[in-house]
């Protein structure tokens, strides 16, 4: 049943969200259905609750985290459900009339039902985590409701402020709840409520309390974060009537009451909660006097009353708790009706500014009467419900034991509360309904539609009924609710209008008297209407948020300024740190002597060393003259290749050489479209810094390499590979066997990378038009003599390529080297004959070559799967032919064929794309031609 009750608002919200183009009336009816049906369910459950039973239901949600969908309906929950649903139903009715014909009914009621459901879920929740879930849902849905008129600045600001503060509180609450879960070992409310002693005795208690109270205080708009509430008044009035009288703001005090058995009862709780409550009460009440907006008065009054409730819960005596609950109910009724009345007035007159209103008593008698009664209830005038709970408050204030200074403080606060309350109520009534006016209202003012008054009337009747006959009307309910909090500790109390002449009564009368005097006095002394009070909270909030954004911007722009140099610098620095840290940490520790025999220098090592080092430094020295740097870097490549040869790695040397050549070609192709040199960097410190970083990186890498090389090798795996290469993989070039067999999967990935590079370049250049940096005048050059030679070389290089491919498994070579070797003669043809000539003659589809290569490699690997062996398991077959003898067929060769095709295809695709770029049509203005007469022989560029 509880699920049904809770589901109703959500389901109907969903229905509303889906419905399109439904008339407003139907929407309102559907929306009203939710609270009405839920109320019916609640009514059905009421007898059981009154009996002291707690209907429960539980569904697992996330047992690992202790999160369960468990609902329970005890007295407190019942009371709040009643409020949420009852006032909810009235608000729906009211809102139907309130919203203008052009308003988005569907969205409004959808959000309203979402909120209603969230609120209901919160009060029904039997699991603290679930409470947090619904708690935050109320924040979100209230954000949507407050921002309903999102085209208005104040609505957006109010919504953001409310969400920011309540969501922050919600996060704190989450923290608190998780801590409670740690202490108690469960999030089930029953367990938590039963574990009050444990919680209070735990060392985490202050933290728990602080975090939970942070949630409570933000939600219930307690000082000093109360300021969001007045700004939430930018919401449509039905929303205010609902959220800020009965529901949203009550969520905080609800939770305080809910966790009262677990958290209350310590001095810390007493002092913190009562002090905050008392301060809120005073601040709210005092500010309410100076508001000109009707809803402003009501908002500050709400703050003040919430302070009162908090204060009562802080006092923690059973009677105080009863009073708090009683006041929650009372406040909900009169404040909801007042908000609705204010909405009616706004609706009819077009303003809520009390400075422009007045004399409405004559124009709207019924509404005025209702509003005045409700205001009196708010002021705590006898025979109305507000009076009763206020009396109880006074009594509790006077009975504080053991904390003398608190008793004085609270009593004075209570008296001031009464005084201010009377004053602002008086002002509210007087400025609106009495005197001359309405001033400066150009509308024809009359009573609203009858059914718009009905909700107000119902609530006011409730105020009066409770005020006159509390025991009959509210008594049983209150008792049920109080039992929900206090359990067996329910005090003896009597709900009666007359308790005889006692101090509270005198205080009440004194308060009324002082309030009237205060209002009259203020009116006499000050020009109330001229006082414009800025909301300091808002300003502070605004400043803080702005400061926050500024901080974010400043930091982010200072740190993440989009500079690539900075990214790379950090990478280098972190790498240096990571590499150096262990050695620094191990500095002073005794080092074991390294048993290591250094390799003697190879004969030509000294040449290579000089070549390598000088070319590296030469590249560095010449980097600004790019062509020269590329040239000098060619020396580096040669040195590295020769080092590989000298150190027993012919395959590497071949690959390095080929790649080096193609890289240089690509760089030259690229240089055609890039500036010829780099500008000089003026900043010396910057250069020095980079130099230092580079030195550290170089030294660090050298040190690491040296330390690694001088360790004895751990190459058992390599030995095994070497030993198994010939008998099991049928290849004597172990490097190639590793590439196509042992680690063939790496190669598959590698050719994929290579193929993708081709595709990426193709994608980037396919439609690109670029202006070359500078062009030489004249038509393309032909070089007959080199062309002739290249033509002769072409078939021979093909032979070399095939040779390297076929022999690769047993000698240096293989698919990759062969593929590049095949690309080289074509490159020459491109260079000498021009791209167009080559491509028309050969008509390769390089992209398909890449695809085919990948498919062949993949197919070869997958063929093993047909034999129920893993991917890439190699096979070998000796084909014996009559004349030719034995021809070894190896699956590895097929795999290598895939490599061959991909490498060839991709290399040629890249070269061809870069070589056949079309000049830009628009950007040509930036670039120019080189005057042959002015070219510098030093750099080859125009000087």
């Amino acid at each position: 049943m509880l699920e049904l009750m809770l589901a109703l608002p959500f389901v109907l919200a969903l229905v509303l969200a889906i419905l399109r183009d439904a008339p407003a009336k139907a929407v309102a009816w559907l929306a009203g259905l939710a609270p009405v049906l839920a109320l019916a369910v609640l009514a059905w459950l009421t007898p059981a609750v009154m009996d002291g039973q707690i209907p429960r239901t539980m569904h697992e949600w996330l047992p690992q985290a202790g999160l369960a969908f468990s609902l329970r309906l005890d007295g407190l929950g019942w009371m709040f459900s009643l409020m949420v649903l009852g006032i909810g139903a009235l608000v729906v009715l009211y809102a139907y009339y309130y919203l203008g014909p052009r308003e988005k009914y569907r969205r409004f009621f959808c959000f309203l039902l979402l909120f209603m459901g969230s609120m209901l879920g919160m009060v029904l929740s039997g699991n603290l985590l679930l409470t947090v879930v619904f708690w935050e849902l109320t924040s979100i849905s209230s954000f949507l409701l407050i921002g309903f008129w999102f085209h208005r600045d104040d609505a957006r600001e109010g919504a953001r402020m409310a969400l920011t503060i309540t969501a922050a509180g919600g996060l704190a609450l989450l923290g608190g709840v998780v801590l409670i879960g740690r202490v108690v070992g469960s999030y089930e409310l029953d367990a938590v409520l039963a574990a009050g002693e444990t919680i209070r005795a735990h060392e985490l208690y202050p933290w728990i309390l602080g975090l939970v109270l942070a949630g409570v205080f933000t939600k219930s708009a307690q000082f000093p974060v109360h300021f969001w509430l007045p700004h939430a008044m930018a919401a449509p009035t039905p929303v205010s009537a609902y959220l800020h009288s009965a529901t949203m703001v009550k969520a905080g005090v609800f939770l305080l009451a809910r966790l009262h058995p677990s958290l209350a009862g310590t001095d810390l709780f007493f002092y913190v909660v009562s002090t905050v409550g008392a301060l809120t009460l005073l601040v709210g009440a005092w500010n309410a006097i100076f508001q000109h907006d009707m809803k402003g008065v009501l908002a500050y009054s709400t703050i003040s009353h919430l302070g009162l409730i908090t204060l009562l819960l802080g006092l923690s005596t059973p009677m105080a708790v009863v009073a708090a609950l009683f006041h929650i109910l009372n406040h909900a009724t009169f404040k909801a009706s007042l908000f609705m009345a204010a909405g009616i007035i706004d609706h009819e007159t077009g303003t809520r500014d009390m400075r422009r209103l007045g004399g409405l008593r004559r124009l709207m008698p019924y509404t005025s009467a209702l509003a005045i009664i409700a205001s009196l209830a708010m002021a705590g005038i006898p025979l109305l419900n507000g009076f009763l709970s206020k009396e109880m408050f006074f009594a509790q204030a006077l009975e504080i034991e053991g904390h003398e200074e608190m008793r004085w403080f609270v009593t004075i606060a209570a008296f001031l509360f009464a005084t201010f309350g009377v004053a602002y109520s008086l002002r509210f009534v007087h400025d609106t309904f009495f005197g001359r006016g309405p001033r400066a209202v150009d509308q024809d003012v009359h009573e609203p539609p009858r059914f718009m008054q009905v909700p107000v009337a119902i609530l006011v009747v409730a105020c009066v009924a409770v005020g006159i006959a509390p025991q009959w009307t509210i008594g049983p309910f209150l008792e049920t609710a109080a039992r929900g909090v206090l359990g067996d500790a329910l005090p003896e109390y009597s709900l009666a209008v007359w308790h005889g002449v006692n101090t509270p009564l005198l205080m009440s009368f004194g308060g009324v008297l002082c309030g009237v005097l205060l209002y009259l006095g203020l009116k006499r002394v000050l020009d109330l209407h001229a006082i414009v009070r800025q909301s300091q909270g808002r300003m502070l909030f605004h400043l803080n948020i702005e400061a926050l954004f500024r901080l974010g911007r400043r930091f982010t722009h200072a740190v993440a300024n989009g500079s690539m140099q900075r990214s790379l610098l950090w990478l280098v620095l972190v790498a240096i740190a990571a590499g150096a840290a262990p050695f620094v940490a191990a500095w002073g520790e005794p080092r074991e002597p390294v048993a290591f025999v250094s390799q003697p220098m190879v004969r030509l090592a000294w040449v290579l060393w000089w070549l390598l080092v000088t070319c590296a430094l030469g590249t560095l020295a010449l980097y600004r003259y790019r062509l020269l740097a590329v040239l000098v870097m060619g020396g580096c490549g040669l040195a590295v290749s020769m080092t590989f040869v000298a150190l027993s790695a012919p395959d590497l040397a071949l690959t390095q050489l080929l790649v080096e050549l193609v890289t240089v070609s690509l760089m030259l192709l690229g240089l055609h479209y890039l500036p010829k040199d780099s500008p000089r960097l003026r900043s010396l410190p910057r250069r020095l810094r980079d130099c230092a970083v580079a030195l550290a990186a170089g030294a660090g890498t050298a040190g690491l390499a040296w330390a690694m090389m001088t360790r004895p090798p751990a190459n058992a795996a390599a030995a095994e590979i070497t030993a198994r290469s010939l008998p099991e993989a049928w290849g004597s070039n172990v490097v190639n066997v590793i590439l196509v067999d042992f680690r063939g999967f790496d190669t598959l990935g590698e050719i994929t990378v290579f193929g993708i590079a081709g595709l990426a370049v193709h994608a980037m250049l396919r439609r690109a038009r670029m202006a070359p940096e500078k062009v030489m005048p004249g038509p393309p050059i032909k070089l007959p003599v080199p062309a002739d030679l290249a033509q002769m070389m072409f078939p021979l290089t093909l032979v070399v390529s095939i040779f390297l491919f076929l022999r690769g498994h047993n000698s240096p070579g293989g698919g990759f080297i062969a593929g590049l070797t095949l690309a080289v003669p074509l490159l020459i043809q491109y260079v000498i004959q021009g791209a167009a000539s080559v491509e028309t003659r050969f008509g390769f589809d390089y992209i398909r070559a890449i695809g085919a290569g990948l498919l062949i490699a993949l197919g070869t690997g997958a063929a093993a799967m047909l034999f129920d062996r893993p991917f890439l398991a190699s096979g070998h077959y000796d084909l014996v032919l009559p004349v030719l003898g034995t021809i070894p067929l190896a699956s590895a060769a097929a795999f290598d064929l895939g490599v061959y095709l991909v490498v060839f295809g991709s290399t040629m695709l890249i070269l061809s794309m870069m070589g056949t770029l079309k000049p830009s049509k628009t950007m040509i203005a930036h670039r120019g031609t080189i005057d042959p007469a002015t070219r510098s022989a030093l750099t080859g560029e125009a000087s």
Partner: protein, 104 residues
């Protein structure tokens, strides 16, 4: 396979041919460094291209000498490729100097 043997002439206690190979390696190495000097020094672009070309050619000699020194034929492919690519890179670089656009 029955291969003829070298005489193994000894000079100052070292094999003559070995010593000669060693000397040749040093001499060719010096030539490489001279080419390197020209590569770095320039002054003109064609000078550097020429130096790079010379480096490639001398590298072939050096590699073959190393092959003799280590009595291994494994360096053949590397030398062949260097010869091939040295030419190609000279073509490409010269074409760049002449036309800036190496593929027209």
């Amino acid at each position: 396979m029955n291969t003829p043997e070298l005489a193994g002439i000894q000079i100052f206690g070292f094999g003559l041919i070995e010593t000669t190979i060693g000397i040749a390696m040093y001499v060719v190495g010096i030539a490489m460094l001279l080419a390197l000097w020209r590569l770095l020094r320039g002054p003109t672009v064609p000078d550097r291209i020429l130096a790079l070309d010379t480096l490639n050619v001398t590298a072939i000699a050096e590699l073959m000498l190393l092959g003799m020194h280590l009595q291994s034929a494994i360096y053949f492919e590397a030398a062949l490729i260097i010869a091939m690519l040295g030419f190609v890179s000279t073509v490409v670089l010269s074409k760049y100097v002449i036309r800036r656009d190496i593929v027209e």
